[in-house]
Symmetry: C2
Amino acid sequence: MSLGLVSIKPMPKSEVSLKLHSQESDLIDFIEPIKFELAAVEKELSTNLIDDNPFIDELLASVLKSGGKRIRPMLVLYGAKASQSSAEEIDHKEIVLAVLTELIHAASLVHDDIIDSASLRRGTQTVNKRFNDRLAVLLGDLLFAQASICLSRLMSPIIVGIYGQVLGDLCAGEIRQMKQQFSVSVNWVEYINKSIAKTASLFSAGTRSSAILNQADDEVVDGLRKYGLHLGICFQIIDDLLDVVGSSAKLGKPTGSDLRAGVITAPAMFVLERKDEASKKLEELIATRQICSDEGAQAALSLILESGGLESAVGLAQKHGDMAKDSLSILPDSKYKDCLVELIKYVLKRAN
Amino acid sequence: MSLGLVSIKPMPKSEVSLKLHSQESDLIDFIEPIKFELAAVEKELSTNLIDDNPFIDELLASVLKSGGKRIRPMLVLYGAKASQSSAEEIDHKEIVLAVLTELIHAASLVHDDIIDSASLRRGTQTVNKRFNDRLAVLLGDLLFAQASICLSRLMSPIIVGIYGQVLGDLCAGEIRQMKQQFSVSVNWVEYINKSIAKTASLFSAGTRSSAILNQADDEVVDGLRKYGLHLGICFQIIDDLLDVVGSSAKLGKPTGSDLRAGVITAPAMFVLERKDEASKKLEELIATRQICSDEGAQAALSLILESGGLESAVGLAQKHGDMAKDSLSILPDSKYKDCLVELIKYVLKRAN
């Protein structure tokens, strides 16, 4: 399906040295202005800081080399460039910040896949499926440890505090999601809080901290914090939407996975709040747990598609995209600020 | 059994307000000079810093209220008192340091129990057994998150670095243990490295950081670092020994658990390196995995008891206890330094 959002002319791919996962090739558009920095991030991501042990090298590489969008490192690097007062090269600390932001994301995915008993991620088997839960626990902890070592290298207690809160938010987000499982009552405040905890808190930590490292003015730091926050909420809504429309190949996991697991996504919530025939049918599918079966999930997906749940979700995502854009108004104009705007469009375009 | 180590006269128990697990009542001897600080640690341990969510309160309390020796908070508090230049009250930051040191310990236990598929810890069911692996992953992460938030409050990048390395060491220790499972080759360097990574790294981080927070001289910081390191190694050896002689009630898990799981402990290594009849029999029990059965584990325990494996292990523990004591020589004399010495005796006395 096309949601009629902005399309962006791709850059010649030969100019880009960074290997991205094939399904994410449209991200290549954005990386040109930060390609050297992103290459440095890739190099540091696969560096084992913990122990001189080939098994640890192997474990770390098994998750970190599996691709991924690297959207969080991009946010840090563009945040750094856009909040710089001069056009100097960015400080090595910004690379370390980008690396640790991706490490925390990777760690949370590995542990989330155990918690959700997921078997597929980014089109490949999850660590818990390929090996077992025990190794996945260890690998997640290794990634958190590596992130902590990076964090200490920034020599910034404020940023340690920001990321400490992010770790708490990631756990709290998972708990909020558990608590809302199979719930048919629509509570948008709770939904937004869950999206912040699960996704936007880390986005926002990255953009905000990049400006803190640059010793940018408080207004710039706060502008980038809000940008990350709203972009993160927007990203989470689009993720919900892809659970309805994304093909298994594009999403890397089967369509309807969230619904089957009782995670009531934004498009489903828009149907549920209508209190009409469609919402009653959806409520019944959820309450009776029929939604966990192939037929039930398919019926729920059809209801959402027929009842405009998708369009409403796109509208909400667009609203947070606009708020992200508005948050940038405090930043001086630059090509990097433009890239941050383009990144909003990319996040929205994922639904195309 | 008695290994003839020093016994310490108990303090009147009525003077002590802190509730300790019954099996650890002999620790009451030590807490008098720091009882108010330890009470503050207990209070902060059960404070949820993450999210206003009763489920999180409940999860945190379920592990943190289950007792435990609190030996790591004691190390931090005595390190703080002994490295202070004046007799003032200790800074609140030392309490936070004691809390986060215990939180990291608790988190690593919860995740280790998943990795080891353990069902009993401190005489009660493990989180993975009582609930499931998924909740145990989340609870361990919550405890790490809470520790990170505490860490940020110290405003010390150096201490963030020290604890970042501890997190890496804890993972590396688990991996080293996995790699040495069912190995009959005796490598003491590898054994000591594993003991440092699993136990001594966190002990040492606590004592060292307590002195750093006090802005103590480098020699004092290093003395306390070495003290924690050798006491941690000593503690790990005694833990190995308790796997052979400790009753299930005292240890909180069945005797021989480590051996059954293929973890070759110090007493077993002392038998294996003898290259005599006993060592050949033990080698066979390990190589054939007979050691995993009740009869095999019992046969291995008997071999260790008959071949002096225990006495040799006590000797090694005593050696590291002595090295811990020697490391304190740089510290000025005080009743708190005396308590650190008593703590070595307590650790050794656990084998009585």
